[in-house]
């Protein structure tokens, strides 16, 4: 469709054959995108904000009644919801810090020339190309106490990772680390290869130690890109749903997105779910804002 339109345009005005004018780009790409965003993002966003102040249920035929801030008050006063937030926070901290450490570590290891570097890097990137549902199902098998390979390899006997209320969240976080550490690795690798070589040469001439070089040259120069990875991963981890939903039904692994899903699509408590979604949105925005502020500071240095 688009290509046809482009062709027609250029045929009609041979003078502009070289490329599209700014106006053409606007009409062809930007306006549809903005329209799309308005219809599918902005409009539902505002609409659901309205619903969050009502007792609307999508499954009932009753009209929505305005209830003011009741939904928000009930949610913020509900100890179960707070428990979900605590679980989510734990999960974000474990999984994101794990990803940063593993991902950055891998990037440091890969940041040199060795045979078949391309192949190794590609293989390491495979986990993040898989569907989260598939990853969850596979790791469920790997963790299985009766025939899973993890307990067999580690000699853990029949330690039940996913049935143990305390271990389950870690088990899911480990899966998430496995899946997304490559993403951090990829970004870090880009950052590392952008560090000018002459800085290291200068450091070597000044006989700076490895740790000193790392702390004073590598880390500060890679920091902005690491922070970007951190922002992305925190946002994603905060809204984790698929892996956790597939791997375990422990109440100790019920992250906020699962609670939201149950409330919205199993109980059809639409008004309250909208309110909860808004609370989550505000939290994510707040955390991201802190990061972005910090990122700007780091960049200024």
């Amino acid at each position: 469709m688009t290509s046809v339109a482009t062709k027609m345009d250029s045929l009609a005005r041979p003078a502009q054959r070289r490329g599209l004018s700014d106006l053409g780009i606007r009409n062809l790409f930007i306006i549809p995108t903005v329209l799309f965003l308005i219809v599918f993002n902005i409009f539902p966003l505002i609409y659901s904000l309205g619903y969050s102040f009502t007792d609307f249920s999508a499954s009932a035929n009753a009209p929505a009644n305005f209830v003011g801030l009741r939904n928000y008050r009930e949610l913020l006063g509900d100890e179960n919801i707070w428990a979900n937030f605590v679980i989510t926070a734990k999960y974000v901290i474990i999984s994101v810090s794990g990803q940063m450490i593993v991902g950055f570590g891998l990037a440091l290891l890969l940041n040199r020339t060795f045979p078949m570097k391309g192949l190794v890097t590609t293989l390491l990137l495979l986990p993040m190309m898989m569907s989260a549902a598939v990853v969850g199902l596979f790791w469920k098998l790997l963790y299985d106490p009766s025939w899973g390979i993890i307990n067999y390899a580690l000699g853990l006997g029949d330690f039940a990772w996913l049935s143990n209320p305390d271990a389950a969240l870690f088990a899911i976080a480990i899966t998430d680390i496995w899946m997304w550490a490559p993403f951090v690795m990829l970004l870090s690798l880009a950052g590392l290869s952008a560090v000018p070589k002459y800085l290291y040469e200068a450091a070597a001439i000044d006989r700076a130690g490895t740790w000193y070089t790392f702390r004073r040259i590598t880390l500060p120069l890679v920091a902005p890109i690491l922070l970007i990875a951190l922002i992305f991963r925190t946002m994603e981890a905060f809204k984790t749903f698929d892996i956790a939903y597939i791997m375990s039904t422990q109440p100790t692994t019920e992250v906020i997105a699962i609670r939201l899903y149950k409330q919205a699509f199993q109980q059809w408590d639409t008004g309250k779910s909208c309110a909860l979604a808004y609370i989550v949105l505000i939290m994510v925005l707040a955390i991201t804002n802190i990061y972005v502020k910090y990122l700007n500071k780091v960049k200024e240095r």
């Binding site: 035929n61 039940a160 049935s163 143990n164 109440p251 100790t252 059809w268």
Partner: protein, 437 residues
């Protein structure tokens, strides 16, 4: 090229128009993904040959059966003409206008006398005792048990069991015996375990297992007519039932924290456990040698009694309802008329479906058709069901949230879990003004 395409489209349009003029309809039945749905597809193929209407049975995994159905209902979509819905959905289906009222159809065909009483009560009528019907009982089902006959009949085991417990090792008559047998066969060092039970809390699996124990112990989930729950769901009997369920969890294979029918059947096929709880409709693979290497030595029994001799089991199964947003309601009714015929019900049972027709259930052919049909027949006259109110999904979630940490997570006591359940349920019923009248 383009011309060809046009011709093709025109042809297709003609075919469609032709089909419409012959009044043959394409109907869609929505159900969960399991063997009975395949049997139903075979059955409706026979209807297609007779009537010219084609019917497709569309399925989705159990875990999102409810979500998908209600998403379609709430959008007032006509993708499904009929749905074989869970018994708990009746309240929502009836009061929220998703199901077509089948009361006249029901009475005209005297289905009250044709179908087994429990199936009419739980699959068709809402509110209870109102005489209004929203579904035709299609698949009867209830919780039963499979066990390893060879382990039970091994003379050495029998002797050791008698020495330890003072009575003979046999099919358990009571939950206490079931517990003893589970403990007896629980040998982690031999990779043998006592019992497999439901623990999945993402839908109703665990609730079905727990309520089976609670009912047999003489407990109830509440008064379904008055919505009174405090003093009922947390009664002495209900607490004892939940405690027994937790006791059984001790003797399950390792990692038994998110299990439903697949895992419970695996417990038998993989030779993991001596006994396994499951809905009867999931038993066919257990008597099939290609899916169960232990098929020859697998036996079945009905849910055991509690300490007072009371004996009940959780009801599964579904009725078939016509979706009120369907544009083919007349054709759907025609199909239901065919479906309730005695000959169809007989054929349904032959194909492997669990008919609710009393005549078929009572026939010796049916009871001897499989090793578990007799146990099924016994069970269908002692079933009880979960709440069927429109807000049942909330009730179920609260139940799960309270009992799961106790049974699997070893947190708190049964009394605390059920007290909290009573509190949560009362609050929910209050929210929906159930106590106002």
């Amino acid at each position: 090229m383009r011309k060809n395409l046009k011709l093709l489209l025109a042809g297709a349009a003609f075919t469609l128009a032709g089909a419409a003029s012959a009044h043959a309809e394409d109907l869609t039945i929505f159900w969960a993904e399991w063997d009975p749905a395949n049997y139903l597809q075979e059955l409706v193929n026979e209807y297609a040959a007779e009537s010219g209407d084609t019917i497709t049975v569309e399925t989705t995994p159990w875990s999102d059966f409810q979500t998908k159905t209600f998403a379609e209902f709430n959008a007032h979509g006509d993708a499904y003409d009929m749905v074989v819905g869970d018994s708990q959905w009746l309240g929502a289906g009836a009061t929220q206008g998703h199901y077509v009222d089948l009361t006249d159809f029901f009475n005209a065909n005297k289905l009250n006398d044709v179908m087994a009483p429990a199936t009419v009560k739980y699959y068709a009528e809402y509110p209870g005792g109102s005489g209004k019907y929203w579904a035709i009982p299609l698949e009867g089902d209830a919780v039963g048990w499979a066990y390893r006959k060879d382990w039970f009949e091994d003379p050495k085991e029998k002797e050791a069991f008698k020495a330890k417990y003072g009575y003979d090792l046999a099919i358990p008559e009571t939950y206490a015996q079931l517990r003893d047998i589970a403990e007896f066969f629980y040998r982690p060092d031999e990779k043998k375990y006592g019992v497999a039970i439901y623990t999945d809390n993402s839908y109703d699996a665990m609730a079905m297992g727990v309520e089976s124990a609670i009912f047999s112990y003489g407990g109830e989930l509440g008064d379904y007519a008055t919505y009174k729950v405090d003093g009922i769901i947390n009664s002495k009997e209900a607490v004892a039932g939940l405690e027994m369920y937790k006791e059984l969890y001790k003797f399950t294979p390792p990692g038994w924290g998110k299990t439903f029918f697949i895992e419970d059947n695996q417990a038998i096929t993989e030779g993991l456990s001596a006994m396994s709880m499951n809905f009867f409709a999931f038993f066919p693979p257990l008597v099939n040698k290609s899916t169960n290497p232990n098929a020859d030595v697998t036996g079945f029994f009905a849910n055991p009694a509690g300490p007072d001799g009371k004996r009940f089991a959780a009801l599964g199964g579904q009725g078939i309802s016509i979706v009120s947003y369907s544009k083919k309601q007349e054709a759907s009714k025609k199909f239901l008329e065919w479906f309730i015929k005695d000959s169809t019900q007989k054929r349904w049972a032959e194909l492997g479906g669990y008919t609710a027709s009393q005549a078929v259930l009572k026939s010796p052919e049916f009871q001897n058709a499989t090793p578990y049909n007799k146990a099924f027949y016994d069970t269908m006259f002692m079933v009880k069901d979960f709440w069927a109110t429109p807000e049942y999904a909330e009730i179920l979630d609260q139940f799960n949230q309270n009992i799961y940490p106790y049974v699997v997570g070893n947190k708190g006591t049964a009394q605390e879990a059920l007290d909290k359940t009573a509190k949560d349920w009362t609050a929910t019923f209050n929210k929906y003004n159930r106590y106002s009248n």
